[in-house]
Symmetry: C2
Subunit: 212 residues, 2 copies
């Protein structure tokens, strides 16, 4: 397998964690977003969206980080990243989507660029925007985890799974933009539990081959 990705892309980081949790080897292909390499013809030829990550598995391409993680879980079932029961699966997916649909899209590089370059928003306000969505979005994740019997050492029970693959990269982004995190102690407890594991620590942005 080949993973087209970028060290700082949090959607890429999610998939790196999932591949590591599954113990799967892959070739790391760097697509440098800040240098606009995603728009190069060679990448456009394989990616309709010009976004990372993209997983090549033989002749097939899979995009969208959550779709890739579920694909890996279906094709390499052990260890499972989603639970078995429908309601438990729905909880893990919803928690993942609380991050992937409510927080991350607002803080994507292309969105931040559009805010400053097209909407005339100042850098200061752009940073305020970033922190606002991370802080309020993680508050939702915190409320869900606190009210949820299914949460344990990790988002679901005591083994890491799909929701953890999304939570950790989001905390990295929050820290990078100096967002508040003292209001989400459960999020941070789980984040710290994850970071003790190689699957998370060895795939973090600073450990990537294209890290700057």
């Amino acid at each position: 397998m080949e993973l087209f990705n970028y060290f700082r892309s949090s959607a890429s980081f999610r998939v790196r964690i999932a591949l590591a949790l599954k113990g799967l080897d892959y070739d790391y292909r760097s697509v440098h977003l800040a240098k606009n390499e995603q728009f190069k013809e060679s990448y456009a030829a394989v990616s309709a969206s010009r976004l990372v990550p993209l997983l090549r598995d033989g002749e097939a391409s899979v995009t969208q980080s959550m779709a890739i993680i579920e694909y890996l879980d279906e094709t390499h079932p052990e260890p499972p990243l989603l639970p078995r029961e429908a309601l438990d699966r729905a909880y893990v997916r919803a928690l993942s989507q609380d991050i992937a649909c409510e927080i991350h899209p607002l803080n994507n590089l292309r969105v931040l660029r559009y805010l400053t370059q097209e909407m005339g928003v100042s850098d200061e306000n752009k940073d305020r925007w970033y922190r606002h969505w991370v802080e309020t979005g993680l508050e939702v994740v915190e409320r869900r985890l606190v009210g949820e019997e299914r949460a344990g050492a990790f988002c679901f029970g005591d083994t890491p799974g799909m929701a953890d693959c999304l939570l950790v990269p989001q905390v990295f982004n929050a820290q990078r933009f100096h967002a508040r995190l003292d209001h989400v102690p459960t999020v941070m407890r789980i984040h710290e539990a994850c970071m003790k594991l190689d699957a998370f620590a060895k795939t973090q942005p600073s450990a990537c081959p294209d890290a700057e």
Copy 2:
């Protein structure tokens, strides 16, 4: 089952379509977003995120539209909304996420409110923002559909499924904000095929009990 939702919420519309495709009955519970009913204590008691839709199934609550649709598909398998093969499932999920993660979050009511009320963006620029993400986002969906053997009369083959549940509400939003759609003929062809079916036509915003 009970569906907490709002006629104009496109994430709600996705789930109404899925329930209709499955032929499932439910009680329609209106949460009027424009009147901020999602912040009322009675709703906050069941919803950590204060977002719609939320499906109550007995004592259980499920949130996030894609998680709800997959839950319905797992608990009521016929007719299936996702295909069987892992690569096909990944395609349907990725296409759904191209809408749910890349287009819709940027055009949510709370995001538009934040742009005008907190970022000082004019109404005109807010509308430009809206159209930009819909038009460029649907262009990605179009490119994916055109390059994809799996697409047929609908997003996957010749029966409607999860990706169609996301595509149609997004086109409704685009039309409401007068976005360009002439550059996405395949999207529009599939949209029109869907709208010929009761599951889509009878759950559209104007047909809802809380429609204005």
